[in-house]
């Protein structure tokens, strides 16, 4: 049992590390975007300030489901982060970091937030949740097809295993270029970055599910968003860029991936939700399936 407790603590550490890592990189990225627009951009720790400012404010609550949903969402996401390996050696639960845990525990976070957003009684929130779910249906399937190819090629579905495989014979980004592209698009969808920012659309549905959150619920949901981004980006790094053998390598790869995604998102407008679905079920899915057939059935 003590091993389990030990790895639980490491897991919490990983989650905390993920949160701080993503918040700093988020802050740095806001500065980078600022520089891109020829302005100074906020301080690098601005994200921390925003979150702690939100936590310090006095919030309102629309009933027990409104609070329980937030707790379940953030709890689920932190649980997922606890399984995430940082480098091939630094992982909380060795051997149990299965790919499907991440996909489905992320769904718990989504369900918790969706539940409390609908529970808040605001129609804008329900519309936002509906769009988030439909978008999830869109970007998830091509991503999963690409991941099958990876799992089948590397023979194991645990992330550390895939990392070792890539370190042994080359990154998947190079050996499966099409999959890399499709997965990057799905990553944009997962992060909810601009081209696929249908569910936070501030001008259309007043920041979608977040419409009724203020104070500590809002702060906690920001924490959840940061940790979810950490999970998704590090998942992408481990699957395609050969994970990391030491921390610095992980930080570098993580920063590059997130910044590229962020820059792309800052250049784009926003799709309508059914355009997003049609988009993902046209080219990305076709390419992913073709690649899978080519790689696996050859």
């Amino acid at each position: 049992m003590s091993v389990i407790l030990m790895s639980m603590l490491i897991g919490l550490g990983v989650a905390l590390f993920g949160f701080t890592l993503q918040t700093t990189i988020g802050g740095i990225n806001r500065k980078v975007v600022g520089r891109m627009q020829k302005r100074y951009g906020p301080k690098w720790y601005q994200e921390f300030l925003d979150i702690f400012k939100a936590l310090s404010k006095r919030a309102i609550s629309h009933g027990w489901i409104y609070d329980f949903g937030v707790i379940m969402a953030v709890g689920g996401i932190t649980a997922t982060a606890m399984f995430m390996p940082i480098t091939d050696s630094l992982v909380a639960f060795a051997g149990y970091d299965n790919f499907f845990i991440f996909v489905y525990l992320l769904a718990v976070g989504m369900l918790g937030m969706a539940m409390s957003a609908s529970g808040s009684g605001n129609p804008l929130a329900s519309i936002g949740v509906m769009r988030a779910l439909t978008q999830m249906l869109a970007y998830e399937v091509p991503f999963m097809v690409v991941v099958i190819t990876i799992i089948k090629v590397s023979g194991t579905s645990s992330l550390t295993g895939i990392m070792e495989f890539q370190q042994a014979n080359g990154w998947f980004a190079l050996s499966l270029p099409i999959g890399f592209g499709v997965a990057f698009l799905s990553l944009l969808g997962m992060l909810g970055k601009k081209p696929f920012e249908t569910y936070i659309a501030p001008s259309e549905i007043a920041s979608g599910p977040m419409v009724e959150y203020g104070g500590k619920q809002l702060g906690l949901l920001f924490v959840m968003h940061e940790i979810a981004t950490f999970i998704e980006v590090s998942l992408f790094v481990h699957l395609f860029l050969g994970g990391a053998s030491n921390i610095i390598e992980f930080l570098a790869k993580y920063f590059i991936v997130y910044t590229v995604a962020n820059l792309i998102s800052n250049l784009n407008g926003r799709f309508k939700i059914d355009q997003v679905v049609v988009f993902f079920y046209k080219w990305p899915l076709a390419l992913a399936v073709l690649q899978a057939i080519w790689v696996l059935w050859r």
């Binding site: 629309h62 709890g75 023979g155 500590k216």
Partner: protein
């Protein structure tokens, strides 16, 4: 020592007794159904586990022979458990049936029939009890809102059972015996024919692609306990027959090494995949919660088919596990919707809203049920879906994998629709007086939730049982170390995931409650971009919930048009014969006589 024959006979007897009792007082009759199903379940579970159920038959006159097998026991326990859980709802729904006495009788006869099917030792017994289940459950349907679905149900089930009968008779004509093992003796063309026919029988009962049209009609319109029993229990007959068909018969056919399966198994997997996709797409757009759950059980039937078709020890454990998890989850969901129907007299999502304020416990039950149905970690559904994914990836079936992923994410969409539009949202004034579910209804809901929670966190016991079942079909057991399940390419440890999830929630809850308390605010006090809105209906979003997604595909699936056309053709043929041959003119008969004679004379005979 408890004989199966005694169980079946006592259930039939209890049915007749319930009929007699409920002529005078129907409520007592329905309490009797609870006791009877409890007895059946406890006997099967107790005697089954320390396997001293004996199978010799001395009272039932002819044809009927039983045999105990772990395979039959697994199904029997699940189905009798579902019957027992649903029977708690009978007393509350009994008063709005036209023939309450008949309801209690047929309810218990259906239970007896299913037990008979699972323990049958030869095909004739299996067919007799299969048909008993068909016609008794058929008479349960018209007690609900509409009568027409009964005929649809009868047609599809009879297509299935007649296909099975033909297969049975065909094997009899070749091998000369009705025994269950007889079908594995067949080979070549005849094995293929029997395989197809048994698959048709499994498809019709399970509600798979070509024959799923009856499922939404019947489950949507029949009384609530009946639709719960259908989706949880009676559908499992189809899985039982699909298991037998796919695993016992090995017709000669090409082996596709790309997917590591025989051609006919791959075709079954493809049909299963189509069922998943069609079921999910249709479920997403349903406005009636019961129809939505009906389509979801069709899509889950597709999962079971895919898992069986892959026929490896992982996929079969996944199939067995999914049958159990789906039975618990979908029955809990149906019963939750039944509570809503019992209290508000409607299951239309667009008319309902804010049920959580009236019935929070039912809400929690429904939430746990959909977590399991969507395959989310702490609940049973996740493990079965994980096993099926392991097998799909291991067999590298790309198209079927796309369908399964689409199904699992899609299931997240359609289970969420009633949750958001029916339970959450504004507290509509027209449901002011609605109260929580009565106590007796609460018992099964809680037991089902705890059940699916238990199989989600500690899968060891269920996997041991299913290992024994698979061994009967000659497959190696699934490896289990004390924490993780050994999948094809990774291990999954359910208890660790559940405890980590719990830890995460606890940590965040502590943070949440340290921070200053938040101010309670009514639901109507929301951001309406400065506009003053006083009516709840305006602020409740429940009608056509996934409108942008629904615009992308047609409402009515093509297959139901095909069936309507067939029905029309039969009617036309009937009118043709009536017009030509049954007129009042005797000269028509004489004409036919002369024609036949000339045919005879003109023929080579004279």
């Amino acid at each position: 020592m408890f004989s199966i024959e005694l169980v079946v006979l006592s259930t039939l007897l209890a049915g007749v007794l319930a009929y007699i009792v409920s002529i005078k007082l129907p409520k007592l009759g329905s309490y009797l159904t609870i006791l009877a199903s409890l007895a059946v379940f406890s006997v099967l579970a107790y005697f089954g586990f320390n396997n001293n159920l004996d199978a010799e038959v001395n009272l039932i006159p002819q044809f009927v022979l039983f045999k105990t097998s772990m395979f039959g026991l697994y199904f029997a326990i699940i189905v009798s458990f579902i019957f027992f859980m649903v029977s708690f709802f009978n007393p509350y729904f009994i008063k709005d049936y036209k023939y309450p006495a008949a309801y209690n009788l047929f309810y218990l006869m259906a239970l007896a029939g299913t037990i008979g099917v699972f323990f049958a030792s030869n095909f004739i017994t299996l067919f007799i009890f299969f048909e008993i289940v068909v016609w008794t459950s058929m008479f349960l349907i018209p007690l609900g809102k509409k009568r027409k679905p009964t005929v649809t149900y009868f047609v599809f089930s009879t297509v299935g059972s007649f296909a099975m009968l033909y297969a049975v008779m065909f094997t009899f004509s070749i091998t000369g015996s009705f025994d269950l093992a007889a079908i594995s003796v067949l080979s070549g063309k005849s094995a293929l024919l029997v395989y197809i026919l048994l698959a048709v029988a499994g498809f019709a009962k399970l509600g798979a692609y070509p024959f799923y049209v009856w499922l939404p009609k019947v489950l949507g319109k029949s009384p609530d306990p009946v639709s719960a029993v259908f989706s949880g229990g009676i559908e499992k007959l189809g899985a039982f027959i699909a298991f037998m068909a796919i695993l016992r018969i090995s017709p000669a056919s090409i082996y596709l090494e790309a997917v590591g399966m025989y051609l006919q198994n791959y075709v079954i997997a493809i049909f299963g995949a189509i069922t998943i996709v069609v079921g999910t797409l249709q479920a997403i757009r349903q406005d009636d919660a019961k129809k939505l759950l009906a389509y979801s059980s069709a899509s889950n039937g597709g999962y079971i088919l895919v898992a069986i078709a892959m026929s490896s020890s992982i996929s079969l454990t996944g199939a067995m596990y999914h049958i159990l998890a789906h039975a618990l989850a979908s029955t809990a969901a149906f019963l939750a919707i039944a509570v809503v129907h019992y209290r508000t007299k409607t299951t239309k999502i667009s008319e309902l809203g804010g049920m959580i304020h009236h019935m929070p416990l039912t809400y929690m039950v429904y939430l746990m049920a959909i977590i399991s149905m969507a395959g989310i970690p702490p609940m049973g559904g996740f493990i079965s879906k994980w096993l099926i994914f392991q097998a799909v990836i291991n067999k590298q079936m790309i198209i079927v994998a796309v369908a399964t992923f689409f199904g699992s994410i899609g299931s997240f969409l359609y289970v969420f629709r009633p949750l958001a539009a029916l339970f959450l949202g504004q507290k509509l004034p027209k449901y002011k007086g609605v109260k929580e579910a009565p106590f007796l209804m609460m018992i099964p809901l809680i037991i089902l939730t705890l059940g699916s929670f238990y199989i989600g966190v500690i899968p060891n016991q269920v996997i041991d049982f299913s290992n024994k079942v698979i061994a009967e079909f000659g497959f190696g057991p699934l490896l289990m170390n004390e924490f993780g399940i050994q999948g094809a390419n990774g291990t999954l440890s359910a208890p660790i995931i559940a405890s980590v999830f719990g830890l995460g929630v606890v940590v965040i809850a502590i943070i949440f409650f340290i921070l200053p308390k938040s101010r309670k605010v009514g639901l109507m006090d929301t951001y309406t971009s400065g506009e003053f809105i006083y009516t709840e209906e305006l602020l409740h979003y429940s009608a056509d919930f996934y409108a942008p997604f629904e615009r992308l595909y047609p409402a009515k699936p093509l297959i139901s048009k095909v069936y309507a056309m067939i029905k029309e053709k039969v009617n036309e043929l009937g009118r043709f014969f009536k017009y030509w041959f049954f007129t009042n003119k005797p000269e028509v008969t004489v004409l036919w006589i002369v024609l036949i004679l000339t045919l005879l004379v003109w023929g080579d005979i004279l």
